[in-house]
Symmetry: C2
Subunit: 447 residues, 2 copies
Amino acid sequence: MQNIEVTRQLAAWVVGLNNEDIPQAVRTEGVRTFVNWLGCAVGGAHHETVDRALEAVKLFAGEKRAQVIGREERLDELHAALMNGISSHVLDYDDTHLKTIIHPAGPVASAILAVAETRAVSGRDFLTALIAGVEVECRIGNSVYPHHYDRGWHITGTAGVFGAAAATGRLLGLDETQMVWALGIAATQSSGLREMFGTMCKSFHPGRAAQNGAMAAFLAKAGFDSSMRSIEAPRGWANVLSTKQDYSEILDGLGRNWESALNTYKPYACGIVIHPAIDGCTQLREQLGGRVADIQSVALRTHPLVLELTGKKTPQTGLEGKFSVYHAAATALLHGDGTPTAFTDEMVRDPQVIALRDRVSAQADKAMHEDAVFITLTMQDGERIDLDVPHAIGSLERPLTDAMISEKFTRQSSPVIGADKTTALIEKAWSLETTADMRDLALSSAA
Amino acid sequence: MQNIEVTRQLAAWVVGLNNEDIPQAVRTEGVRTFVNWLGCAVGGAHHETVDRALEAVKLFAGEKRAQVIGREERLDELHAALMNGISSHVLDYDDTHLKTIIHPAGPVASAILAVAETRAVSGRDFLTALIAGVEVECRIGNSVYPHHYDRGWHITGTAGVFGAAAATGRLLGLDETQMVWALGIAATQSSGLREMFGTMCKSFHPGRAAQNGAMAAFLAKAGFDSSMRSIEAPRGWANVLSTKQDYSEILDGLGRNWESALNTYKPYACGIVIHPAIDGCTQLREQLGGRVADIQSVALRTHPLVLELTGKKTPQTGLEGKFSVYHAAATALLHGDGTPTAFTDEMVRDPQVIALRDRVSAQADKAMHEDAVFITLTMQDGERIDLDVPHAIGSLERPLTDAMISEKFTRQSSPVIGADKTTALIEKAWSLETTADMRDLALSSAA
């Protein structure tokens, strides 16, 4: 496919997309993507990572035209995009395109909510831009995954910058050539190393992708040119950053098959591999009622990756708790909780949690699927209770309901902006498609 | 060398470097690097690429604390760093570290001149920061060159961001850990594709490297953390962006062997491969005096790369003229000129130039060195004049004199900020080491 104009065809599709071209089911999933993202951005707004980044960037910020979500500060739209991209990902609690492990909303929604504050953008147009941006980043991600990720690139940053450029480009009304340039300026800023996982730089990646992608669109609008073949050229993005280049993943079925409709939302604030255990233990807690105190032992049968990634027997901090399937199972049984409150330092050191955690065992079984678990409880009276969870909640097979997304939002947002503002914000977020001017929604996300 | 702490050792060296640790010859070369860079930045200040970028970024700029060189505008220091990095490289007329083809000053000097305006920085400390930054980027470049460049990375952008971070980090007084973080935040922003050559994005790379590296230092100062092994980790910068990793190039002889002292400055505003021809033809013009009009033919014997890269027989535009060794030889013989005025649309279409150009022939000879040429003139009276140029002016063997750097500065700067301001600015630039406060120098670069 060396001679196909991949970048130009993709740009033409983004520019030509109309609101009514997108099936309602896809738009509905887009709204869910937005609501989930917004809740995460509010929830992460006061994380230390956000505080420190804000301390640095406010030195350089321009006119205060855009809201830093979940806080009082306002910044210029590019810096607001950066900050909101960081806060929406900092708790590792956002959305996942499972085929690429891209967290799609962070780079795209962060860019366009900030930019939308500076011009009259309806919720309907905003949603189309969001969906277009997510399509672009996930399709570009598909074209190089897994080789690109295996080489060490944090794909949410490297592919996300294209999504932010495309979505912002739509809000700015770029023509086809300008959209090609915007994708090119995005391509030549594409960055983010997996080495950064475990540091503040991890959430910096979606933030910077949002900011850089938006900047690419503004530069293109001003006539700043770029390669016409930035993705597919011999020295273009795909060849330089990956050993796999499958451009059919970018172009085939554009406007028919929607990657954005495959988005999933994390029910729990930890690595996705221990979600089945939390889900199953939460279900068992409901079955048991007051009898949780009578549990003698908990035996988990899981995919081997679960123990490899989350096999920490005696976590000492909240962060370590996220890497302990034992801790996660205990808090789910005791409190029905897998949200951020389950992974605090206090919870990890709670004697009751420790006592139950020490009675949890886990066995790796290659025959188990990654999103499955088999749990056997043995009660003090000798009774055995088995539970088979073939697909964890939050998987494509068992998506979060809208009510669950709202509950997740509330749990994250209420401690940050209060219950009343949270209730109003959730309602506005779900009403995205009928929002007259996105400024109102952005302002409602302030602390 | 997997277990050596490359990033930490490099950071420790940058933090611990004292002004007096740098030999005078190295400092003198650092001043030449600075003067050459400043002249180029003034010279490029009104290029269309700069105009368009400025149109976009001024929407987001913060407090007007730093000068856009060669213009009236002032921006926040990060945006000024971006703009000055673009203008200093936009004419492809800046400096070259020949071992890596890095253009060292753009990313580093652009960052620290802008940042220096916001705090009291002496010329002496500024120069040390500049040299430290150039050492960092060139040594990191050496560790991966040529594999990294061959893969398609524009190394001035990808390595330059480290130099900007290190140099800015010195001005901000980062401690060792913060400097490690700054290099890490730089690493995870490292970008720039060679596919962009021939577009406005090429000069965007050093600009963005300056801006992003400076931002990395400000983030680190605010406590934003990063990997402690961003360069050498298995998923760190060198492994992800290159198939060669020679960390001895980064650490060996630090503070004894100075890469920054190997910097070279382009005498001519075109690709370095046709510099020998321009140099030789300029020398012949001086020999001939009025007899240039009597030239019958010009025969060049050159390295094969010269014809491969600059073999355009009948250029139609100024830009195409830069890729025509025939045009370049003709303008050098007729006008003694290889500066930007030799590569205008008018000059390329000048009948006298075309007439002589059409009498220039060139022959590839694998035995010739890349910076050499052998020229044979045949005069109308049958006389033959031979000239052997073993090393072109501007090479390490025949560096530009300070007077030539000043002349190059004047030719670029006078049309932009006028002769008087140019004279004053050149004098201040050469006095870098005794400058009390860099703000004065930065302000003097305004139009």
